[in-house]
């Protein structure tokens, strides 16, 4: 009597992906923060002229060079505005937070009938996640970019370490949070006045200064940075890390003032991205005091790249 199911199983197994499993599609979370940050930037009057870099490359751009316009995992460019709760959640034991509403609470179903979206992952949950991640960073120099660091971080903010299990890619979430946080710090520092100081410098010096500002944020974690790089390069994580780096490079170019430049948009980002990554790796083996050699390296690479452009134009 069990032959019927076996026969059917054989025919079904030729399409394993469709029948076996569909993983939940995650829409919000720390790794989407980069997009949120860019949206925040738009609120500053000084940058009102800028469009979202993720969605507005020049139309003539070849697709292969564009990191920003293709999205491996579609994510909303702006946070979903808070929804009015249509169903009143029953109040139980004076629960003090709303279960059914909140920003980002839009419930999504994934492909076909087979996967479930995240619901009510609203502002409260995001905040708690970020608190845990921020506390975890303190443990990274000792424990690395690992679950142990996240468990310790959760304990620090009086949360059960069980919440670490809810992070989609655990260690990757921690690294991505750090990248977003550094970008935010960079933007804040530029807005707070360091941007003015840059105006007196040449373009190459401005770029060097900005790259240095960003790389210096990694010095407390430098002993564990190789691990972070390897986490970022894993297949599941690489699309997010590329996106974050693209936003970073774009931000640096913007702060350095790219008005009136004759270099192609894509080339600028590709070149600076390459220099940034090379410098980041160089820094891992730099033992000079205060990473002096790394800054020299950065200056040379940027000068070389821009001089090359000039000579190419001349020819």
């Amino acid at each position: 009597s069990l032959t019927a199911p076996i026969g059917w199983a054989n025919s079904v197994s030729t399409q394993p992906r469709h029948f076996v499993e569909h993983v939940v599609v995650r829409r919000t979370g720390p790794s989407a923060m980069a997009s949120f940050l860019v949206a925040r930037r738009l609120l500053c009057p000084a940058s009102a002229r800028r469009l979202l870099p993720c969605t507005s490359p020049p139309p003539s751009a070849p697709a292969a060079l564009c990191w920003l316009s293709t999205d491996a995992s579609p994510s909303p460019p702006l946070p979903v505005p808070p929804l009015e709760p249509t169903v009143d959640p029953p109040k139980k034991d004076g629960a003090s937070f709303s279960a059914g509403s909140g920003a980002g609470g839009a419930y999504r179903t994934g492909q076909g009938a087979a996967s479930g979206g995240r619901r009510s992952g609203g502002a409260g949950y995001e905040e708690e996640q970020q608190k845990v991640l921020r506390a975890s960073l303190l443990h990274v120099p000792r424990m690395g970019w690992s679950e142990s660091a996240m468990i310790a971080g959760a304990r620090d903010v009086a949360m059960s370490p069980a919440i670490v299990g809810a992070f989609p890619r655990k260690e990757a979430a921690l690294v991505e949070f750090f990248m977003d946080d550094c970008l935010q710090q960079l933007m804040d520092r530029i807005d707070a006045g360091e941007g003015e100081l840059l105006k007196n410098l040449m373009l190459t010096e401005r770029l060097s200064r900005l790259v240095r500002m960003r790389l210096e944020m990694q010095t407390p974690y430098i002993s564990k940075w190789p691990q972070a790089l390897s986490i970022q390069s894993q297949p599941a994580n690489v699309s997010t890390s590329l996106k974050q780096r693209a936003v970073l490079v774009d931000e640096i170019w913007h702060a350095a003032g790219d008005a009136g430049s004759d270099i192609d948009w894509y080339v600028k980002r590709t070149v600076l991205g390459g220099i940034y990554s090379a410098s980041e790796v160089y820094m891992l083996t730099d033992n000079s005091p205060e990473f002096h050699d790394t800054w020299t390296f950065v200056n040379r690479r940027i000068k070389d790249a821009l001089d090359l452009q000039k000579s190419y134009k001349e020819v």
Binding site: S1, R119, E147, I151
Partner: protein, 284 residues
Amino acid sequence: SGFKQVREDEKSKLVGNVFSSVASSYDVMNDLMSAGLHRLWKDRLVSGAQSITPYGDSLFLPDSSDFFSRLISKLNPFPGMKHLDVAGGTGDVAFRVVERIKSVSHRATQGTLTDMEEDTHIYVCDINPNMLEVGKKRAAEKGYNEEQCLSWVQGDAEALSFEDGSMDGYTIAFGIRNVTHIEKALSEAYRVLKKGGRFLCLELSHVDVPVFKDIYDIYSFSVIPAVGELVAGDRQSYQYLVESIRRFPKQEKFAQMIQEAGFEAVEYENLVGGVVAIHSGVKL
């Protein structure tokens, strides 16, 4: 097919009888209902894909060999955890949690985690003492009698005897469809969890995939009761069980119920096209 209308008080009695009568062949029954289906093709499909996706949640296939392992890997147990497994008298979930925590501790850790291992405690709660006996026996067979970290507690999912905010994790595997008042079980789960604690539910669920759905229906309503007759000599109990699966809320509705109990970040993952689903939520 006509579903039997069952009154509430009768339901708990009926469920009690079903489980008493099938307690010893529970594993076989579970295999029939779900894991057996899965095992028919899991080896071929899972083993090939495992090497592609070494880390965490994947877009392809789970890094596990059956539904319980998938549940445990989502749970992500840690040393020092206080975990409650409800309606899991036979210990399927509990043993895997213990194994996982032991293996985490023995991996080279970066420091303080191993100190916490002594605090680990897993509570197995079941309303049916026969199921608990089966679990204790299996624990003895596996050599877990030395384990200080396992406790077997008789109790009702709708009225747990544990304190507020005492558990890091709560799991209920193939048990919640038999609870008379699901909302009560969910709010009890919410009550006993700590801040940051996670709720996970593994349950037979609804298939909406067109052709597969019909095949699954035929299998459920024709084949399973017949096999139940052969294996356990009890067609009626198996008929009831199949019907109870269909009566259970659909994935979306159940997710909504979990959210209404107060959980955040509620989501679900379908396995085998929806034959089994894992719902999860976080208490904040």
